[in-house]
């Protein structure tokens, strides 16, 4: 056994022995009273109020939903050109050709989170030439009822309430995929139509 190890063992034994000796001494020197010493060990856990919000990617790629409506119409079934049916705006739903589904996530621990929707132009998506497609031509569905997808409308898009789903309804941890489609129910002038949607999360 090395000198250092022996010193450690001896020191430890002394540390164990000293309190016992002190207790014994107090008992004999004193008046037979028992001394009870209590030490409080208080725990304090600080959980900050926070709101976490994700829309789409985490910022490393662009999240722009694109619909390519420039597709060939179905061939006519009679001699009359297209049977008098419109080439576009016939209600055939168009899936997004890029970023058709976005991941949305809300985590909140200080109340019910609400998501509101706003647009850069309340006339709808614009082709920059005075023509618009109303935002309600864009449908959006959620795969999680805990975060319903806002139903887009030029004015007054209803807010959605994110359902608290943890700790007896006091904490929210919800994630969903919102999938966008173009209803294609209006015949509109040619052009590239652009409209920016902003989703705002808050815990009022």
């Amino acid at each position: 056994m090395s000198y250092r190890l022996a010193w450690v063992i001896a020191t430890g034994a002394l540390a164990v022995a000293l309190p016992a000796h002190a207790e014994e001494a107090s008992d004999t020197v004193g008046l037979g009273m028992q001394y009870n010493i209590s030490v409080n060990l208080d725990f304090e856990i600080d959980i900050p109020e926070l709101l976490i919000f994700r829309v789409g990617s985490d910022g490393s790629v662009k999240d722009q939903i694109v619909f390519d409506v420039a597709q060939s119409p179905a061939p006519p079934t009679s001699d009359q050109s297209y049977n008098g049916q419109p080439l576009y705006g016939d209600g055939t739903v168009v899936a997004a050709s890029n970023n058709g589904s976005l991941e949305v996530e809300v985590i909140a621990n200080s109340g019910t989170a609400v998501i509101t929707t706003s647009f850069d132009n309340t006339n709808g998506l614009s082709n920059g030439d005075g023509n618009f497609i109303p935002f309600d031509e864009i449908a959006c569905e959620s795969d999680n009822t805990g975060i319903p997808a806002p139903q887009l409308a030029n004015v007054g898009t209803p807010p959605v309430t994110v359902t608290p789903n943890r700790h007896g309804g006091l904490v929210t941890e919800q994630v969903a995929n919102w999938t966008y489609t173009y209803k294609n129910s209006q015949a509109v002038a040619a052009g590239t139509y652009v409209g920016i949607v902003t989703y705002t999360a808050s815990v009022p």
Binding site: R54, S57, Q64, A190, T192, Y199
Partner: protein, 289 residues
């Protein structure tokens, strides 16, 4: 993003050139074309509508002050993404309708207290997986009458460019934003909350009214017993009840003594005490589906 990738290739080429004592003509030619391609691919509009992933703490501020005083504090924003992000911070008018609509407006309304707010900065750069604090101050003017003012601080990603054009179709850039709602009570203002009964249908909500001049909230855990004689713990939503408003607050049912969600069979009898800042509201009612 395409531009960023090609720029990285160019940097790698440059590093290779630096480590090579005598770059071949073939390598120089490849580097030249790589640089040319990267210049073509960098699209100033490519970052438009980028995603959003961040957290803010606290998520809400409930402050008190007096005329002529200053209230100070700080908010912490965390970039939870994998790329550096710039956030723009600004104030906004805010209102919350009885229907649950959060209304934000940049237009300064009458009697707004937004001019009292001073933000440390308007733009904050945060590295990936990092946090930054930014301070705020409310300078309440002397002589301000007792009131509660409400506003929001908006935090959104910096828009780095215009909108990329789609090839003959529709483009819908989507942006994320967070709003920190602020309630600032000046002087002696108080809520006055009362229970007005269950919602007429739909079951799991109670209605409350606020006849005071400040926003109030109710908290507490009630007991519930459903038609199948099952017991529940019943908690109530902490949504705010603004002055002069009536609001339906959703209820959450859980197994007694736990926080595990449970589904009752209606009708459900709910009883217990709820608490708000200045009092207690006894509740005893029956919820119908």
């Amino acid at each position: 993003m395409e531009g960023l990738i090609s720029l990285a290739l160019t940097r790698r080429d440059i590093r290779a050139m630096k480590t090579s004592s005598a770059p071949s003509s073939q390598f120089k030619l490849a580097a030249f074309f790589s640089l040319l391609v990267s210049c073509l691919l960098i699209d100033p509009t490519a970052e438009a509508g980028q995603g959003f992933l961040a957290s803010i703490s606290p998520a809400r501020l409930e402050l008190k002050s007096e005329p002529g005083k200053v209230v100070r504090g700080a908010l912490t924003i965390e970039n939870m993404g994998r790329e550096p992000a710039n956030y723009l911070v600004r104030s906004s008018e805010w209102d919350y309708t009885e229907a649950g609509q959060s209304l934000f407006s940049d237009n300064l309304k009458n009697q707004s207290c937004r001019p009292w707010l001073r933000l440390e900065r308007r733009k904050i750069s945060v590295q990936p997986r990092a946090k930054r604090n930014f301070r705020y101050e409310f300078h309440v003017p002397a002589g301000t009458p007792a009131q509660e003012c409400r506003l929001a601080v908006l935090i959104e990603g910096e828009d780095l460019g215009g909108v990329a054009q789609a090839g003959g179709g529709l483009a819908l850039p989507v942006k994320g934003r967070m709003a920190v709602i602020i309630y600032l009570s000046v002087g002696n203002v108080k809520p006055a909350l009362s229970f007005t009964g269950p919602v007429a249908s739909g079951g799991s909500a109670l209605r409350f009214a606020n006849s005071g001049n400040a926003t109030g909230r109710v908290v507490g855990l009630m007991r519930g017993k459903d038609a199948a004689n099952n017991d529940f713990d019943v908690s109530v939503s902490k949504q705010p009840i603004l002055p002069g408003q009536r609001r339906s607050l959703a209820l959450a049912f859980s197994q007694p003594g736990t926080r595990k969600t449970a589904t009752p069979t209606y009708p459900v009898t709910v009883s217990g005490d709820l608490f708000w800042q200045y009092g207690t509201i006894p509740v005893k009612t029956v919820l119908q589906q």
